[in-house]
């Protein structure tokens, strides 16, 4: 009952904060064991994450992306649908955005960027919708189907990077037109737009789940579909809509990566952000109000981990190890209250 436990029994705010502190601390310890001197390299960790405008911009962008993928896990999870497909939905969104940007082509404009965002959200939602349909229509286990669809999404993306618009050197598509972008903010570039999207989704997710009748139906459906049926909460419709909303959030994350970060569909564009989002959502015990907290924790681990690896001359894989350690610690420190 591990996952459903997490879905239905969010623990208290303070406990969550303590867990964040513990998980970050323990992860630093693991990094120490991996040969990174966390004390002497703290200054470079600081510079590499928040300490200068350039790295701050990177950390904030990653944080925004993780906020979006965490929302992609959180909303369906609360409705009882274990969406492990944030990764694939993100790639679907990124692919959708790229297709729009490259199809409309030069010269490009802000309006094209807006269409990219909308199409990416629709693509993410539809990609999630496949698993949702399989679940509602045939009872296919969503854990398996969302996970498997991630691989399918990668293959579809690969079709575009290798066949439709291949770049001459790297495994990616050609770049999207420069003008297809949001207005830039000096040395922060378009990062503020990424942050803005994340803040909007954060606010909407919180408002929807905690302050609307529909939000209560989402939580009720997650806890007891039978009782939800009895009270007339239309659990199937509620769950399907939640999955679509989650997929749209992941798709938006894909659009952010295309427009703000990569400017092209890169084969490993997702950087595991879809999976990290799940970890972030679990870290904050599925409480939408805390989304940025979970996102900043993982953004700092993944961005800072890379910096530390560079400074200490160990493999950059350590940041992935760090994230994995975090996930294990999260599951291990999960509150057991009321599990009977």
């Amino acid at each position: 009952m591990a996952v459903s436990d997490l879905m239905t029994r969010p623990s208290r705010g303070l406990t969550v904060v303590l867990r964040v502190v513990f998980v970050v601390g323990a992860t630093l310890f693991v990094l120490f064991l991996l040969g990174i001197n966390i004390f002497t390299s703290f200054p470079s960790f600081w510079r590499g994450t928040l300490g200068n405008p350039y790295s701050l911009a990177i950390t904030l962008t990653v944080m925004a992306v993780i906020t979006l993928t965490a929302a992609a896990a959180l909303i369906p999870f609360r409705a009882g649908f274990v969406n492990l497909g944030g990764e694939g939905q993100l790639v679907a969104g990124a692919t959708g955005a790229t297709v729009v940007a490259l199809t409309i082509g030069e010269p490009g404009s802000v309006w094209v960027a807006i269409v990219c965002v909308v199409v990416a959200m629709v693509a993410g939602a539809l990609w999630a919708g496949i698993a949702s349909f399989l679940y509602e229509r045939f009872g296919a286990n969503e854990v398996i189907s969302t996970l498997m669809l991630n691989f399918v999404a990668f293959t579809v993306a690969e079709y575009f990077t290798s066949t439709v618009w291949p770049d001459k050197v790297a495994p990616q598509t050609i770049s999207i037109p420069d003008a297809t972008n949001f207005p830039l903010f000096g040395k922060f570039g378009s990062t503020p737009w990424a942050v803005l999207f994340a803040v909007i989704v954060w606010g909407l997710a919180w408002w929807l789940i905690q302050r609307t009748n529909f939000g209560f139906r989402i939580k009720a459906t997650g806890e007891s579909p039978m009782a939800s049926l009895r009270f007339g909460y239309a659990p199937v419709r509620t769950r399907v809509i939640s999955v679509f909303l989650g997929g749209a959030a992941a798709g938006l994350a894909g659009a952010v990566l295309i427009l703000v970060v990569n400017r092209a569909l890169v084969l490993d564009i997702s950087q595991s952000y879809g999976y990290v989002g799940i970890a972030a959502a679990l870290l904050i015990a599925l409480r939408p109000a805390l989304l940025p907290l979970g996102a900043i924790a993982f953004a700092m681990i993944s961005v800072g981990g890379n910096t530390l690896a560079a400074v200490s001359k160990v493999s950059p894989t350590v940041s992935l190890v760090a994230v994995s350690v975090c996930v294990l610690l999260l599951l291990a420190t999960r509150s057991r209250r009321g599990s009977s």
């Binding site: 969010p10 209560f216 939580k219 007891s224 007339g232 909460y233 239309a234 009321g338």
Partner: protein, 513 residues
């Protein structure tokens, strides 16, 4: 003169000054209990009196914070249920610990000690088979638990304990799901076991059973033993020992004795005609049942567990598809879902609270307001923390004596009995034509039952038609104007309460006519 001196030997099972504290709650506060070989010992008390905590300590599930448990005069530490079993203590829980899809034999062999990797010899198997046959189960290696009637499963649970050598049997609310004939049968079995020298402890709410079958009675209140004596005290003394609240007792006694006063019968509100229900396994669960209920009338549906009453009640609430006609105030509702029936004026307390009635992690307030979250704008919000809402919820909780009155608390923190009161409170509040109550008093003490009964009387006065499903014959006679006896899915008897007797109804419940 006490039993101790009569028998001149140590009690088979004795708890001396046992204390158990959970957080701020002293669930057991210096509790003492002596159970002798050869007696049926009833432990009674209101909800939350500490009976279950005491039994869980005696069966090794909990360890006392202070005090001693002795067996035959020798102090003994029961570290876990296995220890208790090895010491000859066996417990039958309210929820049976059997695997429905396994045969009786396999269920029995599961209890043989020796760990997960023990090797069962063919001889052990044969012995077990013989044992079960002697216990009166004809084909133990072919019969599945799920094919047994509920009282048979209980009988099997007792046999299981005897098989592993239990000398002291503890039964928690054993008669909650049984009909009168089965109750009689159970107690005669328990009396036989006592005569063989075993000790029987029965936890119960039903005072009639205590008076009738127990040789010794212990009353608990507020985590203490307030009374322990050889013979059952007269009813008033028993009640004041249990509740210590004379005023409420008189009210409750009146309610029990005065019949459903002042009937003001109106028009037919609920008309059920020839409904049948097929279970998910393809078996006919309800077979062509018809009845009507008038405004202000209470129809008591009664039967031994597993005779179709649950399916009947669920199908009336719209939770179970059925064939036939169900008319509410002249409107056909047979094909409507539960929410549409709610909107037509039907309210229901279902039998399976955790499945249909509550969201455990939601707050008490959200649970009381559960109907309000449907059928309104998705983006609107019924704020469960709003001032007027809280006041409303508090009124309901107070009226049904839900403790504590804490609307913002998670529902799961309430005890089962208090959750039940909150659910009944929700369904009982507001205008309605029909109120369906499935076992509304199950697990509630006499006082809790009285509150619900009182409420139903006021519902009647307002012209609500009530269908009350119970397995308790006495309760059916107290609440029902008309009794519908279910046996094997059919309406075995549909009769006015005043023109029948306990004997006739009890016979119908066992299919005797």
């Amino acid at each position: 003169m006490t039993t101790d001196s009569l028998m001149g030997r140590a009690p088979a099972l004795q708890a001396s000054d046992v204390t158990k504290v959970f957080g701020d709650l002293r669930a057991n506060d210096s509790v003492s209990l002596s159970v002798f070989a050869g007696e049926v010992h009833a432990v009674v008390g209101e909800n939350g009196a500490g009976k279950t905590t005491l039994m869980r300590m005696l069966s090794g599930e909990l360890q006392p914070d202070a005090g001693v448990i002795s067996l035959d005069g020798v102090p003994k530490t029961l570290r876990n249920p296995q220890d208790a079993v090895a010491s000859g203590i066996g417990m039958v829980h309210q929820h049976y610990s059997v695997i429905p899809d396994f045969t009786l034999l396999d269920n029995l062999l599961l209890t043989v000690p020796g760990g997960s990797f023990r090797w069962l010899t063919s001889r052990q198997r044969r012995d077990a088979l013989d044992f079960l046959r002697e216990e009166g189960f004809p084909n133990p290696d072919r019969t599945l638990i799920k094919d047994l009637a509920v009282d048979e499963v209980q009988r099997f649970e007792i046999s299981k304990l005897l098989y592993v050598g239990a000398q002291i049997l503890i039964l928690d609310e054993p008669t909650a799901v049984l009909g009168p004939i089965e109750i009689e049968r159970l107690y005669s079995r328990l009396a036989d076991l006592a005569n063989e020298g075993k000790s029987i402890v029965v936890i119960t709410h039903k005072l009639r059973e205590v008076e009738r079958y127990a040789q010794r009675v212990t009353v608990m209140r507020g985590g203490r033993t307030v009374l322990s004596q050889d013979s059952c005290p007269p009813r008033p003394a028993l009640l004041s020992a249990m509740f210590g609240d004379e005023a409420r007792i008189h009210a409750e006694e009146e309610l029990e004795t005065v019949s459903a006063a002042a009937e003001r019968l109106g028009d037919v509100v609920l008309d059920v005609s020839g409904i049948s229900v097929i279970g998910s396994d393809g078996r006919v669960r309800v077979d062509d049942v018809s009845f009507t209920v008038r405004a202000g009338q209470v129809l008591a549906v009664i039967g031994v567990e597993g005779n179709g009453q649950s399916y009947l009640m669920d199908s009336l609430a719209g939770l179970q598809p059925c064939t036939g006609a169900v008319t509410l105030n002249g409107k056909d509702i047979a094909q409507l879902g539960p929410r549409a029936r709610y909107e037509s004026g039907l309210r229901a307390v279902t039998e399976d609270r955790l499945k249909w009635d509550v969201f455990r992690s939601a707050s008490v307030s959200e649970n009381v307001l559960a109907h309000e979250y449907a059928g309104r704008g998705s983006l609107g919000y019924v704020n469960p923390r709003g001032k007027t809402v809280i006041e409303l919820v508090k009124d309901i909780l107070t009226k049904f004596d839900v403790r504590p009155v804490a609307p913002k608390m998670a529902l799961s923190k309430l005890s089962g009995g208090n959750q039940q009161r909150a659910v009944v409170g929700r369904e009982s509040t507001g205008p309605k034509s029909v109120l369906l109550l499935s076992h509304p008093t199950r697990g509630l003490d006499v006082m809790g039952s009285a509150i619900i009964l009182e409420d139903v009387r006021s519902q009647q006065a307002q012209g609500t038609a009530v269908v009350w499903n119970t397995a308790d014959l006495e309760e059916a006679f107290v609440v029902g104007d008309v009794l519908l006896v279910m046996f094997q899915g059919r309406a075995a008897l549909l009769v006015d309460r005043r023109s029948t007797s306990h004997e006739v109804v009890a016979a119908a419940m066992s299919g005797a006519n």
